[in-house]
């Protein structure tokens, strides 16, 4: 369903001409058919095409474009690769979309200081690829890392499997160049570990594009661990697997990653990739230890023993780097594999205290039954960060609504267990309505004050993150047409 053609355009020929003069004719898209690609990100429940898509190459161009918008009071939304899962790049009352895909240059690699300077449109995996040969890596590794951009990661404060040990995006961003909504270019933070004054870098990372457009980032790099041990442990059910997770972490060392897949996901992945997952298992854990080769066998052995004590029927070590890579490929493509099971799916991103994992998984399976929808689970178990994948068929409006409601019910359960609405996907357009479950009106007021420091007129990615008091935040109809 496309944007309502009858809605009044807020951008005119003059603006289009001004923007084209700044970024060049090939940097502007304004034809309805071409804009269709940008009607949604990874959150496909809602769609809305922008009126103009701009693809600048430099901060100066971004600044010029934002100044033109500022003079006209027009709102905008930044977009990286559009892999986000919460509708962060969905234009909601933002006629102009600023896409960073052409700002894809790695500007400087500084291995001695373990820093790298990149434009914000650089793809996540390209950062690690650029420094791998020198023995470094960039830690945040979302499942979409072959496509997602650093700018998008910064907006959402993205994570990934290995953030259990190494932290999320905010732990690895030292400096930012930000174009404010009025077009001013500001430099925040820098190459040093200590900041000067308020930690504005920390405020911008995770602000979901509501502070302006990030155009450049200084990132910290980590040394590749000397060695790794990756274990695949099969359990009769999700309950025993998640109990093992807490026990492994409590045993005294933080593994590089602990991921879980349940039966539905195991089967989907196995059908798609044939990696040799045990299809009779109720759940599997992928547990990875990294560090000095010297201590790893002992660590892996201890984890295997803990898994066994918690009911694991089989545990095996990846015997080669190729086998390890295959396991991770399977894990990271699990979402794609699920696409074979149903016409549509929606992924949630709740968090619970790790020890509540067995409880939330039971709750998810109860929700699945109540709503008559299959739900698979593939997630960052070590962090307590669940990703229930709710399968549905969009041709059946009843199913769409049930999928939305089921997702909300799971999130409410997470919050009730002392958890959170989102661990790494962001609030976006998707979960604004649930924010009051987590935060008081005063909390939200203070957050809005922080946002206004950067964007007093709320023109940078408007109608996101913080619900407007009194505004209707319910999705009125499935796949609603969002007013641009």
């Amino acid at each position: 369903m496309s944007r309502d053609q009858s809605s009044e355009r807020r951008t005119g020929r003059a603006l289009l001409a001004e923007i084209a003069a700044i970024v060049g004719g090939d940097g502007v898209v304004f034809r309805e058919t071409e804009l269709k690609t940008y009607e949604c990100d990874g959150w496909t429940m809602e769609r809305s095409t922008p009126e103009i898509l701009v693809m600048p190459r430099t901060a100066t161009q971004v600044s010029g474009v934002l100044k033109a918008l500022y003079r006209r009071g027009i709102a905008f939304v930044a977009r990286g690769a559009g892999t986000g899962l919460s509708g962060g790049a969905l234009p909601v009352g933002a006629p102009v979309m600023v896409c960073t895909s052409r700002m894809n240059r790695i500007l400087a690699i500084d291995p001695a200081n373990r820093r790298i300077d990149v434009q914000s449109g650089v793809v996540n995996l390209h950062v690690t690829n650029a420094v791998k040969s020198r023995g470094f890596f960039y830690a945040p590794d979302p499942s979409s890392q072959v496509a997602c951009t650093i700018g998008g990661n910064i907006a959402e404060n993205s994570g990934g499997p290995h953030t259990l040990k190494y932290g999320v995006t905010t732990n690895h961003v030292l400096g930012l160049e930000l174009v404010l909504p009025d077009g001013e270019i500001v430099q925040l933070g820098g190459a040093a570990e200590e900041r000067c004054g308020y930690d504005l870098v920390g405020a911008v990372v995770g602000a979901e594009g509501t502070a302006g457009v990030v155009t450049r980032a200084t990132l910290g790099l980590l040394r590749e661990p000397e060695s790794r041990r990756t274990i695949l442990a099969a359990f009769p059910d999700a309950d025993s697997a998640t109990r093992a997770v807490s026990a492994i972490i409590a045993s005294g060392v933080i593994p590089g990653a602990i991921e879980m897949m349940d039966r539905l996901i195991i089967r989907a992945v196995e059908d798609a990739f044939h990696v040799g997952l045990p299809t009779d298992a109720g759940a599997v854990l992928i547990v990875e230890f990294d560090g000095y080769a010297a201590g790893l066998d002992e660590r892996a052995g201890a984890a295997v023993e803990i898994a066994r004590q918690h009911g694991a029927t089989d545990s095996r070590l990846a015997r080669s780097e190729a086998e390890r890579a295959l396991l991770w490929k399977a894990r990271k493509r699990a979402f794609g594999a699920v696409g074979r099971l149903a016409p549509n799916y929606v992924t949630q991103d709740g968090v619970v205290p790790r020890t509540h994992l067995p409880k939330i998984l039971r709750e998810i399976s109860a929700v699945s039954e109540r709503y008559g929808l299959a739900i698979g689970n593939v997630f960052h178990a070590g962090d307590g960060n669940i990703h229930p994948i709710i399968l549905y068929d969009e041709r059946d409006p009843g199913q769409v609504q049930r999928a939305l409601d089921a997702g909300r019910e799971i999130l409410r359960a997470c919050v009730a267990m002392g958890g959170s609405l989102t661990g790494e996907h962001g609030i976006g357009a998707e979960k604004m309505g649930e924010m009051p479950l987590l935060f008081s009106p005063d909390d939200l007021l203070v957050m809005a004050e922080l946002r206004h420091v950067f964007d007093p007129d709320e023109r940078a990615n408007p109608n996101k993150v913080i619900p407007k008091p009194g505004a209707c935040v319910e999705v009125a109809a499935p796949r609603r047409q969002v007013p641009v």
């Binding site: 932290g167 040093a192 200590e194 004054g197 504005l200 205290p353 959170s420 609030i427 004050e449």
Partner: protein, 427 residues
């Protein structure tokens, strides 16, 4: 001049004391003691968030300045004149929730890091921030002043471990952000905003942290060097070869003060299981030679504690420099003072034992210029009492960043009462 009060408003001290007692109860206000006298005129010790909110509202209405107060070590340095009201959280030191299996802890901000870590140690866990004198470091001060120590190399700093925060801001509003789970991106990250805000945005009342396991074993390798650049070269080699817990370098002054020879000293800590310890010990000897002394068990713990708690000279000019890590060598050399440097992090505390009258700010400016050239900044930690007035304690951010900081301060503290006038650019 009783300049803790805003100009033109004539609330006198006795009157304020009585007002505060009336507002939040008798016996909650007291005279400042020792270091506190340089920080505030009256100390108030509330027992609840609501009492803090009352005090904040009162101060806003009457334009009375206030600041959160731990042991006053930082505030007594950076304040040119005392604030009227120091808000001590000495009576708010409860552990709100500690979930060892989830490895999270929620604390009232008056708790000290020392008592928190004694509790966590019962579960072989710790909050791995290691500023000086943990028994005197309150959680509120640790967050507010972004205190850190040697373990920043392996564990990060407060900003990496703080997962939730609650503070009383303008209007006496209690605002919370984050939560109690280790991974969470719901809402704006006020944890980062509060960390290192030096009490200028509100009074932090509670904080939630990730805790970490205490490693199975810990060894401290000590090796002295006859030359300044040798210790840096050795540190760089070690930092490439190993993932250390900490990697500290001391100039001869502090090294002698800690009981080592008057030489440059490298102190590298490493941890792990038995196989990892054997491997690292061998590697340390390979890089540092047989002269490296390995301290274990209680000896290692004691040596680390004295390194962590190392005192700066009482009359010294002390600053913390943060630069691109490889440029730290040049910086500390050209600053030509004594130092304790966190190799790998690019951060060092540097100092002069004494400075001539009227030359302190000149020295700070010279150091600061050097920091800027090396991609970083410099913050003064301590200055002789008579010279504090002339010194700019905080470095200047870029013009664009400072513009945003002014707006942030204005938004969070419209009345200008929260520790005003001593943070970056006079905020």
């Amino acid at each position: 001049m009783s300049s803790g009060h805003m100009a033109g408003v004539g609330t006198d001290r006795e009157h304020l004391l009585r007002e505060i007692e009336r507002l939040i109860g008798a016996g909650r206000a007291r005279e400042p003691m020792s270091l506190e006298t340089a920080a505030c005129e009256i100390v108030v010790e509330p027992e609840t968030v609501e009492e803090i909110a009352e005090a904040v509202r009162k101060c806003e209405t009457d334009k009375i300045t206030l600041a959160p107060l731990g042991s006053a070590r930082t505030l007594s340095q950076i304040r040119k004149t005392p604030v009227a009201l120091g808000v001590s959280l000495a009576r708010m030191r409860r552990v709100i929730a500690y979930e060892p299996d989830d490895m999270t802890i929620v604390l009232e901000a008056g708790s000290t890091l020392g008592e928190v870590n004694r509790l966590a140690a019962q579960h072989r866990q710790r909050l791995p921030v290691d500023p000086r004198e943990p028994e005197r470091t309150t959680i509120g001060a640790m967050v507010g002043a972004a205190h850190a120590g040697p373990a920043r190399l392996s564990e990060g700093t407060v900003r990496d471990l703080l997962i939730g925060v609650g503070f009383v801001g303008h209007g006496g509003r209690l605002a919370r952000a984050g939560g109690r789970v280790v991974k969470n991106v719901a809402g704006y990250d006020l944890m980062k905003v509060m960390t290192g805000s030096f009490g200028t945005l509100g009074i932090a009342v509670e904080a939630a942290f990730k805790v970490r396991p205490i490693p199975e074993d810990y060894t401290l390798a000590v090796r002295k060097f006859g030359r300044h650049n040798e210790v840096f070269e050795a540190a760089a080699a070690l930092n490439t070869a190993l993932s250390l817990v900490h990697l500290e370098m001391l100039s001869p002054g502090p090294s002698a003060a800690l009981g080592y020879d008057y030489d440059w000293v490298l102190m590298a800590g490493f941890a792990g299981n038995r196989a990892e310890m054997d491997y690292q010990s061998a590697k340390i000897h390979e890089v540092l030679g047989s002269e490296a002394r390995l301290l274990k068990g209680a000896d290692a713990d004691a040596a680390f504690a004295s390194l962590r708690d190392m005192e700066f000279p009482a009359e010294g000019l002390v600053a913390q420099i943060a630069v691109r890590p490889v440029e730290l060598l040049r910086c500390v050399r050209d600053c030509s003072g004594e130092y304790r440097a966190h190799a790998g992090s690019g951060v060092a505390q540097i100092w002069l034992e004494e400075v001539g009258e009227g030359t302190a700010q000149q020295t700070v400016s010279r150091w600061r210029e050097l920091a800027h050239v090396c991609g970083g900044n410099l913050r003064v930690l301590q200055a002789p009492e008579t010279m504090r007035g002339e010194i700019e304690f905080f470095d200047r951010p870029s013009a664009g960043a400072f513009g945003l900081m002014k707006r942030l301060k204005q938004a969070f503290d419209p009345a200008g009462i929260f520790n005003p006038g001593c943070f970056v650019g006079g905020l």
